[in-house]
């Protein structure tokens, strides 16, 4: 717009965000760790580290490794548990910081229980269900890898909470559209994608996996084109809002997700190499909107122009 002011606010499935930039679960701690670097109210919000019913210790090292334009991680379930999250982590955050709680567990009823514990906690603007967890009952395959299991998970957590409910999808599936539709059908307010791609790397000196857990999750720029594909496919399949995640290093990357139909994005691995990445992405999106004469970020969302074959 001529006066150079643009509207970056979006409504993500009932959560009002000043701009479409959140931080991805597990890459931003519980938020307070980033307070030294920038004012967290300047971004849309943060998705906290996934929490379980009880505190968990996670895997033995090595837990991370670097790969080509990416990294592997197998942290395990390490987290402070829902009670400490509510009692200690949330109060540590400044007024006005929008917080989405992320939940993972090993059983569906435990997922639901964590959601119940979060009910009425004023600082929790929404809940994101991390469906990339191994489901013990179905032999270690991720909740998000089987439509029936995912449906049960969403149904149970939907019943357990009145807050805006987002389901974070696993990319390790044949058809992401099917998974997104399941979430929509079961009443989720939105889907977040993608979580990490299941991967493995090897040390040829020791002939051992680089991670103690053998398998790990691949994140970073390497996976961005896969994430963009899935976000675009999901946006064609469902009407609920999509939060785009995967390899976002800068504003240009984030804008690609918005163009592909994401209502908001989450910055993940980039926070490690640049603790101010999320702020810079938010500022860069605003600059892009101004430069391209778009008044509202919503004018950009889903504008991918597909050539007619």
């Amino acid at each position: 717009m001529s006066d150079g002011r643009v509207d970056t606010s979006v409504n993500l499935g009932g959560v009002a965000l000043r701009n479409p930039v959140l931080t991805a679960s597990g890459t931003f701690g519980y938020g307070a760790e980033f307070a030294p670097f920038f004012d967290l109210t300047q971004i849309g919000g943060i998705v906290a580290k996934s929490i379980t019913l009880e505190p968990r210790q996670g895997n033995q090292p090595a837990r991370i490794a670097e790969t080509a334009a990416g990294m592997l991680n197998a942290i395990g379930l390490e987290n402070v548990g829902v009670e400490a999250f509510i009692a200690e982590k949330l109060p540590a955050l400044a007024e006005g910081v929008v917080v989405v709680a992320s939940v993972f567990e090993t059983e569906i009823d435990r997922y639901a229980e964590v959601c119940k514990r979060l009910a009425g906690v004023s600082r929790v603007a929404g809940i994101e269900i991390n469906a990339s967890c191994p489901h013990v009952k179905s032999g270690g395959i991720e909740f998000g890898q089987r439509a029936e299991v995912l449906a049960q998970l969403v149904r149970a957590t939907r019943r357990a909470t009145a807050s805006p409910l987002f389901v974070k999808l696993s990319p390790n599936v044949t058809d992401i559209r099917e998974m997104a539709r399941v979430c929509e059908a079961e009443g989720a307010d939105g889907v977040s994608l993608i979580n990490t791609l299941q991967a493995l790397d090897v040390d040829i000196a020791t002939r051992r996996p680089v991670l103690r857990n053998v398998l790990g999750g691949l994140s970073g720029p390497a996976i961005r084109p896969v994430a963009l594909r899935m976000v675009w496919q999901a946006s064609q399949a469902v009407r609920i809002p999509i939060c785009g995640i995967g390899g976002i290093m800068n504003a240009e990357d984030a804008i690609k997700f918005l163009i592909c139909g994401a209502t908001a994005v989450q910055v993940g691995t980039a926070n490690y190499l640049n603790p101010m990445a999320a702020l810079e992405v938010a500022e860069g999106i605003e600059a892009y909107l101004r430069d391209s004469g778009l008044g509202r970020v919503t004018d950009l969302i889903g504008t991918l122009e597909v050539p007619t074959k």
């Binding site: 597990g26 890459t27 931003f28 701690g29 760790e33 980033f34 030294p36 670097f37 580290k49 210790q57 996670g58 895997n59 033995q60 090292p61 090595a62 837990r63 991370i64 490794a65 670097e66 790969t67 080509a68 334009a69 990416g70 990294m71 991680n73 942290i75 390490e78 103690r212 970073g220 720029p221 290093m249 800068n250 691995t269 926070n271 490690y272 190499l273 640049n274 603790p275 101010m276």
Partner: protein
Amino acid sequence: MNADTALPLRVDAPVLANRSEGGANYRLRLGVAGWPGAAPGHFVMLSPGARGAALRFDPLLPRPMAVYRTLGTTASPEIEVLYKATGRGTQLLAEARVGDFVRVVGPLGIPFSLPEAGRAALLVGGGTGIASLYELAACAAARGPVVVMLGARNADDLMGCDDFAALGVEVRIATEDGSRGHRGRVTEMLEAALVGERSGEIIYACGPTPMMRRAAEIAAARGRSCQVSLENHMACGFGVCLGCAVPRADGKIALVCRDGPVFDATHVDWAGVP
């Protein structure tokens, strides 16, 4: 202000100097606007090439590096880093020229606790770990007698010996090939030194895990207290990725970047250190 509790900052720092010091060793000087100062044991995360004209995301992760020492003026603070160009990231760092920018996040970690006044200190450093001990040697020397034992594969591999000597502390050197100083491991020197010598020294060790582990065993056997600074793979350096875990003696998990890198050697479950 107190460097021990300094909040970390993120600065894209101009390279003021980046010279080879023989072997794989390099000395990097960075201008770090707003640098709050650092205590011995503090480290920074450096992203090589992050600010080159060409955006590069391979290698992706920043590299943890000890603050070798703080230089410059309060108005324009500088930090010096001594590093070995061995892998992809540090080799890229070695290509940084004066005028390039390197992203710095720091100061990070919990520093060494210094010896009480009058207490003797024995510093044992190996490989890249030597770089974590220089500021410690300087501070400890102001409080009591300091002996620094530096170990390396060979003379070329040694870092910063002259700097330590210039502090006026006693420097003893061990190389595995005997090309300089004692032929053998620095921990053998440590063991020998503790025999008969007046007791009560506090031991500080930083280097390869086997070296630190051995130093911890020796200290325990001789009833000396020992602090180690662990060198672990890190993605963030400030406690959010949970990647730098090490098992503690009590069975719990510690984060090297947040709960360390300095630990009381008896608190570490050495068998589980990667």
